[in-house]
Assembly symmetry: C2
Homo-oligomer: 212 residues x 2
DNA sequence: CCTACCGATCGGTAGG
DNA sequence: CCTACCGATCGGTAGG
């Protein structure tokens, strides 16, 4: 009896995970609104209401999908950089992990957060609020590591940490867009190059972009 | 009789323009799929089928909306820079016009092309094809002006024009995203600053980002 | 430009 | 987890 219950709970959890994996894939390509319950049920060969039972509403499904995507992002991009020394080394490590993660094209539609942040930037509600908070927090993490690099004399004290954070964020996002739209894989190395220049030009002693 | 016909044609054209103006506004905020015929008809206080008569299908409406948005972009960003001397001056003029155009927030959801390119990057079809072609053409325009600046000895011959084109494109897109998502108006000046640095570090004689 | 429809699909519920 | 529904809305059509 006890085993059966446990079995069912384990099965339920597995199903839950499978649903969210498929949901991230669909949402990265067609958005969190394009993620309809019927579409998702069809993909998983489940009934609509069977799937629906796992979540109370479409909004709850969207929020759970955002959370699942967040966990993968943290695991792929942030956690591997924890052992790295703080300051410039960790900043570079996180940025390289981020570019690699995009280059691997883990999800059908590329970066999940790039897709859904554009989709929800004008749709008020808890889903937008959560997406905004996560992106803000990632920008803060980058900015903070720039500040740490300054305090360790790895970057010039006179540059604005927010400015450098935004610049590196910008070029990585551009790589995702260029790849998704133009299918140009050179976009990833361009992002790496742009990151190097953004960091070098903020260094304590500036190295020119090209030899003159 | 003839006047009446002309009148009706003129009226029809006016209505057509009004529809597309509203369509761009809705699509910039809620996407070209969120632009439903019922929603658009409601906004314009027309019947669904009355509005539908102007276009043969939803796809035709989407394509017409993309074209209308393109015309506004050309008029706001590209045309004003035609009188400017080619090379670095024209490049800077186009980029400043682009940032200003975003800062003005002409449409409800910010940059139309930022919104719909993210939405359609995984939806094959003529709408995606058209959006991709327009974005490709804008990137080519920027890259071409970098090349012109090189041939006029305003930028270093050893830098890659595509790299600089992508970088400036990236930082302007980042400004739109940051403003739409975080409502931080400093994003526009950060974009201007990032453009200056991208250009300065590609100049014939490099100026450091900060005085050392 | 309108009214009056069509089948399909949406999010969601009842009941098991 | 299922079948069998609900009202609302979707893109689109007929006929005027």
């Amino acid at each position: 009896m006890k085993t059966a219950v446990k079995q069912r709970t384990y099965q339920g959890e597995q199903t839950h995970k499978e649903i969210l994996k498929a949901a991230i894939d669909i949402a990265s390509a067609e958005g969190l609104e394009g993620l309809t319950i019927g579409r998702l049920a069809g993909e998983l060969k489940m009934s609509k209401s069977g799937l629906f039972a796992h979540f109370g509403s479409k909004e709850e499904l969207q929020l759970a999908t955002v959370e699942a995507a967040r966990e993968i992002f943290v695991q792929e991009v942030i956690t591997p950089s924890f052992p790295i020394e703080r300051g410039l080394p960790r900043l570079q490590s996180m940025l390289e992990a981020w570019v690699s993660y995009m280059e691997k094209s883990l999800f059908k539609g590329g970066c999940f957060f790039a897709a859904v942040s554009a989709e929800f930037d004008s749709r008020p509600g808890p889903v937008r609020d959560r997406i905004v908070a996560l992106i803000k927090s990632w920008l803060d993490t980058l900015e903070d590591e720039v500040r740490e690099a300054q305090s360790r004399s790895q970057l010039n004290m006179r540059i604005d940490p927010a400015q450098v954070g935004c610049e590196v964020h910008a070029v990585v996002q551009e790589a995702n867009r260029a790849y998704q739209l133009l299918r140009d894989r050179r976009a990833f190395d361009r992002a790496r190059q742009a990151i190097r220049w953004a960091i070098e030009s903020a260094a304590v002693s500036v190295t020119p972009r090209v030899a003159n």
